[in-house]
């Protein structure tokens, strides 16, 4: 219906954005009616979301005229932003930013580089940046889940960990079960995405390809390729993040530093 009202693409986009915002505001009002106050969060998120995506669109428009290598710098910037966001989620975890940056950089970076080398993604900015950002965003989510779970596991097993330390165990061994649990838990969304592909959801990339007239079979195969690469990036991020965070949870003298609060007992 909107298409019949707006001939210009930008005007159509603004109208669609207004409709989407209106639906989100209706949801906010529905929540408010049930005394669930999300007003501030939703309004801030909507304003931030539209501002950020417009800024990215504008920057992309400028960069499209630049050389291909500028895409790499955009992805590096996105990786730093992802590490900052992830580290915020893991507040209280020592070295969270460094761990996040290393893990996301390694996971997403290695997979994007492999995809570019193998020709699985075009190195033109218009392809590399959106696809790279999908991989970085998923790596970020995995990393946040891994660090968050690791912190909860360690904080709820301080007694057992310190007992093992007091018996002469290495710091690495004392948290080993929690590293495994965090890694497994953080990969659940990535595994479920892969498992339910096409049955529960048809991802945006495939939808976009279908809308732009690609062969449905190729679009499906390419979507699988993407989800599998996303899983690989998430897996590397999770493995790297949980291994790295292990070292930050202890002091050089193998004292547990990741604790709910300093010991001020007895």
């Amino acid at each position: 219906m909107l298409k019949t009202l707006f001939a210009d693409q930008v005007a159509l986009g603004v109208a669609q954005a207004a409709l989407a915002t209106a639906v989100a505001l209706v949801v906010m009002l529905a929540a408010r009616a049930r005394a669930i106050h999300l007003e501030r969060d939703i309004v801030v998120a909507l304003v931030r979301g539209v501002a950020q995506i417009l800024a990215v669109g504008s920057v992309l428009m400028l960069l499209l005229r630049g050389p291909r290598w500028t895409g790499v710098f955009i992805l590096i910037g996105m990786t730093i932003a992802a590490a900052t966001t992830s580290a915020r989620r893991a507040r209280g975890v020592p070295g969270a930013f460094r761990v996040s940056l290393s893990a996301i950089g390694l996971g997403a970076g290695s997979v994007i580089a492999l995809m570019a080398w193998a020709g699985a993604v075009d190195t033109a900015i218009t392809a590399l940046v959106p696809i790279g950002s999908m991989i970085i965003a998923n790596a970020m989510n995995t990393n946040s889940l891994a660090l968050n779970r690791f912190r909860s596991e360690v904080e709820s097993h301080v007694g057992l960990i310190e007992t093992a330390l007091a018996l002469g165990a290495s710091a690495k061994e004392t948290v080993s079960p929690y590293v495994h649990a965090s890694c497994q838990a953080s990969l659940i969304p990535a595994i479920d995405s892969l498992r339910s592909l096409g049955i529960v959801w048809i991802p945006g990339l495939m939808t976009g390809m279908l809308l732009s007239g690609s062969s449905p079979v190729y679009a499906a195969i390419y979507q699988f390729v993407m989800i599998a690469f996303i899983f690989s990036a998430s897996g590397i991020t999770s493995l790297a993040g949980t291994l790295l965070i292990r070292t930050y949870a202890f002091s050089p003298a193998e004292q547990l530093t990741l604790r709910p609060e300093p010991s001020v007992d007895g």
Partner: protein, 236 residues
């Protein structure tokens, strides 16, 4: 024979030991010596720094001032894992690892690549009054039994010093008496050097050779059990 007469050189010694966290002086300038075979009780009100002091002795926490010496050697010169093997610890709650009692007893020696044989496991369990229970799952133990396993597990590392952090405070009276008797037996049989934190002054009287009183992290008084516990104390 008093503990002071038993050995001359201190096994464990602190000099101006302090720990400050976020501006709070948890342990403040504590100097004390513990000799071979001596049982030193650390008493004081809640928040006086008793457990914080104990945690510094096996370097579970890092001192922010002063030093600890084990056998005359600054403990920072000893690798932390080796230090903790030599300074065993039993906590208020017995944190047992999932599995059997023998799995728990073997945990410490396994860290050094050494497998405790069946005979040694049986002997340790006999010492703590749990003979024949090596294969029992720790989930089925009572609080008192779990604490006995915790003591046996610490002893399996053959420590030079045993730290006990309120080892009976989570137990009922019967279990408490049993664990106290066990501590007396272990100390008596092996002349083990012990530092026991307790809020229970009569217990300190029953178990210790000397008592030190902590208040707001500072050493307020130290002396023989009689001197400290039976002296007129305006704070009591």
């Amino acid at each position: 024979m008093s503990a002071i007469e038993r050995g001359d050189a201190p096994v464990l010694e602190t000099e101006h030991l302090s720990r400050v966290v976020a501006g709070v002086r948890l342990v403040d300038d504590v100097s004390v010596q513990v000799r071979q075979g001596e049982v030193l009780a650390v008493v004081g009100p809640s928040g006086s720094g008793k457990s914080s002091f104990l945690r510094l002795l096996n370097r579970l926490d890092e001192p922010t001032g002063g030093m600890v010496a084990l056998g005359g050697r600054d403990y920072r010169m000893i690798p932390p894992r080796e230090l903790r093997r030599r300074v065993g610890m039993v906590t208020q709650t017995a944190f047992l690892f999932p599995g059997t009692i023998s799995d728990n007893l073997r945990f410490g020696p396994r860290q050094r690549g050494y497998r405790l044989d069946e005979e040694t496991v049986a002997s340790l369990l006999d010492r703590v009054g749990l003979a024949g229970r090596a294969g029992h799952d720790v989930r089925h133990l009572s609080g008192g039994e779990a604490q006995r396993v915790s003591v046996a597990r610490a002893l399996a590392n053959e420590p030079a010093v045993l730290l006990l952090d309120e080892p009976t405070s989570a137990l009922d009276d019967t279990a408490k008496q049993g664990v106290e008797a066990l501590i007396r037996k272990i100390v008596g049989d092996h002349e083990l050097t012990c530092v026991i934190v307790t809020h229970d002054r009569p217990q300190a009287g029953r178990l210790a050779d000397r008592v030190m009183v902590l208040g707001a992290g500072r050493l307020e008084r130290i002396g023989s059990t009689d001197e400290v516990l039976h002296a007129q104390d305006p704070l009591r």
